[in-house]
């Protein structure tokens, strides 16, 4: 059978795809909480910074962001006398994380704003500071609210990693393109690749489902 020969190189690509997904999801989560909470901040500078970040990265295309960081940023670095040439892996993780983080920030903001006003009043009556209220009372309650959209974003992020093959990173999409050039057996290769992405997406969605149940466990307890 021909197709068995493709398994090894494609699995190597899968591994790179998984690594990229994990790193960029972690970066994206940090940015999502930072910018999402920043948008709710009363400090005008932090708020403006967060809003600008969210709007720019949600308003432009991921591929534009990726190419900008890969092709344009080093030139900007030359202009201002800094070495801003990064390894393609760094550029890929940065672009994916920045992009998904901007979408995640809106999820965080929306979920925090959906916490009932009465919870903020109870916190005030107990004399919590604004920051404590946000991080100790509002955010933990908002977390389960965020999980379903976060699950969708994680799968979106996995799919988006395919674009880093365009800056010659050896992920699954890149391996597939290499094999196709070599063998011209497009039907077999791309069918396999589609199912591999599908499989990874299902596993990721299942993991996010477990996480969702974990952070929302106080919700499911009933008398």
């Amino acid at each position: 059978m021909e197709w068995t020969r493709y398994i090894d190189p494609l699995l190597q690509g899968c591994w790179v795809t998984i690594e990229l997904t994990v790193y960029s999801t972690i970066l994206g989560t940090l940015l999502a909480f930072g910018a999402g909470m920043g948008k709710l901040s009363h400090n005008p500078l932090i708020k403006a910074l967060s809003v600008t970040y969210i709007e720019v990265f949600r308003g432009t295309s991921l591929l534009v962001q990726l190419f900008w960081l890969y092709f344009a940023l080093p030139l900007l670095g030359e202009l201002i006398g800094l070495d801003l040439r990064f390894h393609p892996v760094t550029v890929g993780v940065l672009a994916l994380g920045l992009n998904i983080g901007a979408y995640g920030a809106e999820v965080v903001r929306g979920a925090v704003q959906s916490v009932p006003r009465t919870q903020y009043e109870a916190a005030k009556a107990l004399n919590f500071t604004r920051t404590q209220t946000l991080w100790r009372i509002a955010l933990p309650q908002a977390l389960p609210e965020m999980m379903p959209p976060f699950g969708n974003l994680a799968v979106q992020n996995l799919k988006d990693t395919a674009l880093v093959s365009l800056i010659s990173l050896g992920d699954l999409a890149f391996r597939a393109e290499q094999l196709r050039n070599l063998t011209q057996d497009s039907t077999t290769i791309y069918t396999m690749v589609l199912f591999m992405y599908f499989g990874m997406a299902l596993v990721l969605a299942a993991l996010m489902g477990l996480l969702e149940r974990h952070v929302g466990r106080w919700r499911h307890r009933r008398r």
Partner: protein, 259 residues
């Protein structure tokens, strides 16, 4: 004679066009148990919410424990209070809400220890000890590890009372603490409030529709109407021989709803 612990002078609170508190003058002595009754929309709850700093006032001055609540003594008289001043003043008060407002993501124990630990700076051990004593007081020692959603409404409200007490306030504000409860659960909450009233030096301010209860625990009953106190006095006097027509009508409607 003691200084009053709460003194409202000409307090006005408006919501848009609506005047909820209309030049309210009102004092409470230390240790006094005061019940506020009156028709809905008369501003009863707003008084508590103003004291807890959940609502700003438009005019007037409120003094709590000898200091202005919404103001600070500045170089040129009273100035609007800073957040630091408000936080200092909030420390003197605790509040129990109609809908309990427990933190749903925390166990009962953590509901009670969170603020003492992170607001008062108690050690985990001290906070836990304090919480356990209070849970015993409200009869819920066995529910320490439960989540609020696993408790009945009456149990949740008892936890909410304990949570407010854990901050060791001088003044306790109860905002219709039994109005959201099923009738059979009202008693257990009232018993807890009553034992507090009888055994502690706390100043208590209570908004309620439970007239029997008000009669038994209060030193004084205030009848609110249209943002002011229309009539006040010892419970026997208000309930047995109210002077004002409006008070009589209200009490009659509450005590004999079917007539």
């Amino acid at each position: 004679m003691n200084e009053p612990i709460i003194r409202c002078e000409g307090v006005v609170k408006r919501f848009g066009e609506l005047t909820v508190l209309d030049h309210l003058d009102f004092t409470v002595d230390p240790g006094e148990k005061v019940t506020i009754i009156g028709p809905s929309g008369s501003g009863k709850s707003t008084v508590l919410r103003v004291l807890m700093t959940l609502e700003r006032i438009n005019e007037g001055v409120v003094y709590v424990d000898g200091e202005p609540l919404w103001h600070e003594q500045g170089a040129k008289g009273l100035e609007p209070a800073s957040e630091a001043h408000l936080r200092k003043m909030r420390q003197k008060m605790g509040m129990v809400f109609q809908h309990f407002n427990l933190f749903p993501h925390m166990t009962v124990l953590r509901n009670l220890t969170e603020a003492p630990r992170y607001v008062l700076g108690l050690s985990p051990r001290e906070a836990r000890q304090r919480a356990e004593e209070l849970l015993e007081l409200v009869g819920l020692s066995d529910k320490a590890e439960a989540f609020p959603s696993q408790l009945s409404g009456g149990q949740q409200q008892r936890v909410a009372i304990a949570r407010a007490l854990a901050m060791r306030p001088k003044i306790m504000l109860f905002d219709e603490p039994t109005s959201a409860l099923d009738p059979e659960l009202v008693g257990e909450v009232l018993r807890v409030i009553r034992s507090l009233a009888e055994e502690h030096e706390l100043t208590m301010l209570l908004v309620t529709h439970e007239m029997d209860f008000a009669r038994r625990i209060s030193d004084r009953v205030c009848f609110f109407d249209q943002g002011r106190i229309l009539e006040q006095g010892p419970p026997e006097e208000i309930f047995s021989s109210p002077k004002e027509q409006r008070t009589r009508e209200f009490l009659h409607a509450v005590l004999h709803p079917e007539e």
